[in-house]
Amino acid sequence: MTDLGTRTATPTVRVNGEDVTGEVPARMLLVHYLRENAGRTGVHVGCDSGNCGACTVLLDGAPVKSCMVLAAQASGREVTTVDGLDAPCVPALRRAFVEHAAIQCGYCTPGMLTNATALLRDDPHPDEDAIRAALKGNLCMCTGYQQIVDAVAAAAAEGEEASR
């Protein structure tokens, strides 16, 4: 008998190291699952249409927009939200965001930090072009971006210093 589909799904998603499971509507987006079922409200709902990047999380380590993934699609996979980021570059990134005024209203910040963490993990010494290319999918309506680019560059430089 072929499975012709169900209106509910029961995903088990590993969120910041803990399994979160429960029956949800099949159409539930991962971003809502993370906020409502996993209690991870650090993940922001911004445009809800795949443009702004405020809902960026790591799915098996890769940055994705969690409003563009169904909770059911994430079943059996690992999600890291902004409050679960534990890469070595994270303390430096957090400090640099504060020091460079890369935060104003803070709405985009979880997405920016999450995506920047993936960038520095894969490319510890990005130049400005690489930083801007990596953050292309994260919109900020406050800063004009330069402060954010500066903060990521400063965190990268700090990492360079530390590895010497």
């Binding site: 012709l4 169900t6 509507p25 990047g53 994705v64 927009k65 699609q73 290319a133 999918g137």
Partner: protein, 291 residues
């Protein structure tokens, strides 16, 4: 936005997928979801059943078959960007991928999903056409192969029949070919208004072989055979460029959209073409392929 209500199926094999599709003619396939989820949210489509093919590992392989590179439909754009064999065999792909959306979308979006979406502004379709690619379509009745240049019938419309799944993209190997992509958009993350993908062989400043794929310049991604013929076999001087620009103008039929008017697209199309051709040929035949 909450997507429209649907029943969700996640088959574990292609055979099971085809069986689900046969039982649900109105079903939609969910690949990476970077276009379908938007359509489900805006109610542009409202299928009874969404069939998630994310569990089909058999559609994630990249392999060489004689003189062709065969890329599984579920290979993500991000994996394509990182794959050295892809860059070597189909040099236009990594160049065009830089223009597609952003890191997060490329981590989810798939080659098969992008081609099947049939966006007239789809950069990857332009690259596929310039590469002479074809797609493999499977159904319970068997398999067929369709050139990407013949895949589209209009905006967001393809020749795919109910019950068919795009399983793989087959591309002729073009190791050592020159490739470039001239693309005009309002901002880097915005849809391409005029894109010209070029795959060429160059010998001593003369373009000996050339194929062109056009993006945003018609009701579907288009080949440009007459424009290519105006360049092939000639040194790429101002005269050849002028002839190519004139042929291009006759081959395109851009549409108005909120992203850009037909007039604007027509005005910038030859600029994109000239940039692509000059970049592909480079300073002279001695320089190595760009990208």
């Amino acid at each position: 936005m909450i997507p429209v209500d649907f029943a969700y199926a996640r088959p574990g094999s292609l055979a099971d997928t085809l069986a689900v599709l046969d039982g649900n003619p109105g079903a939609r396939l969910l690949a990476g979801g970077q276009s379908l989820l938007t359509q489900l949210k805006t109610r542009t489509v409202a299928p009874d059943v969404v069939v998630d093919i994310g569990g089909l590992d058999e559609l994630r392989a990249i392999r060489l078959e004689d003189d062709r590179l065969v890329i599984g439909a579920m290979v993500t754009m991000a994996s394509l960007t990182r794959d050295a064999a892809v860059a070597r065999a189909v040099p236009i792909l990594p160049l065009v991928l830089r223009h597609v959306a952003d890191v997060q979308v490329r981590n989810r979006g798939t080659l098969g999903g992008s081609l099947a979406y049939a966006d007239p502004s789809g950069d990857l379709a332009g690259a596929a056409i310039a590469s002479g690619a074809s797609v493999r379509l499977a159904s319970s009745a068997g398999e067929r192969e369709v050139p990407v240049a013949e895949l589209y019938t209009g905006p967001f419309r393809t020749v795919l029949r109910a019950g068919e799944v795009l399983t793989a993209v087959s591309l002729p190997r073009r190791d050592g070919a020159r490739a470039s992509y001239g693309a005009v958009a309002r901002r880097p993350a915005d849809p391409t208004l005029a894109g010209v993908a070029v795959v060429a062989d160059v010998d001593g400043g003369t373009v000996t072989e050339l194929a062109i794929g056009l993006v945003g310049l018609g009701d579907r991604p288009l080949p440009a055979p007459r424009t290519a013929a105006a360049v092939r076999g000639r040194p790429l001087g101002d005269e050849t460029i002028a002839a190519a620009r004139a042929e291009l103008d006759a081959e395109i039929a851009p549409l108005d959209s909120t992203a850009g008017s037909a007039d604007y697209r027509r005005a910038v199309a030859p600029v994109a073409l000239e940039r692509a051709l000059r970049e592909a040929v480079g300073d002279d035949a001695g320089v190595e392929g760009n990208g």
